[in-house]
Symmetry: C2
Subunit: 118 residues, 2 copies
Amino acid sequence: MSSLALFRNESDTHAVAAGETIFLEGDEGRVMYVVLEGSVRLSVTGRTLEKVVKGGVFGEMALIDAGPRSATATAITACTLAPVTAQRFKALVKAEPDFAVEIMRVMAARLRSMDRRL
Amino acid sequence: MSSLALFRNESDTHAVAAGETIFLEGDEGRVMYVVLEGSVRLSVTGRTLEKVVKGGVFGEMALIDAGPRSATATAITACTLAPVTAQRFKALVKAEPDFAVEIMRVMAARLRSMDRRL
């Protein structure tokens, strides 16, 4: 399952122009985003960590531990994003175990990528 | 909820002596561990990433993405560990959404700690 399948028919989407900042490292975060169209750069202190493409998710950490944004997210191209609130995230984890596993998979990939930078 | 609560009465535990290597970075991994007693050092190429104490988990990444161990785990003190197979992990994520969220919380803490090293 891709997150995209769950959010494909989302009516509450968020359009972002190329180059626009979606959130800044250190910001308070209340939603996670699913990329429906376009691509997003995640960076920490100006260093690119990852490019998130269609079907990918970002911003999940602020929902999980209620901490500040750990990275800055910038639209590389024009994007359509589906925002997911903490409440919906919790409901999805409960109702769709595959969604929970997919979020863990995304986080595992990020951790492995970070390990390689050490 | 702490993982410890789910595994407190585990009969299938694994005793490890102080200084013993539990797994090596690059090993194939088939189980996650919950620390019931003792503490464990996680390291990558000799650098300590984290000390996992009673109630904590480690080794979850190999269950999530079936990749090799991303770090080496060494017992700091004598430990009692509860091994969790991939099959049981999947069943727990499905039956106990709080368990899934706790695993995500552990991963989020690790990602934040890695971000600070950049």
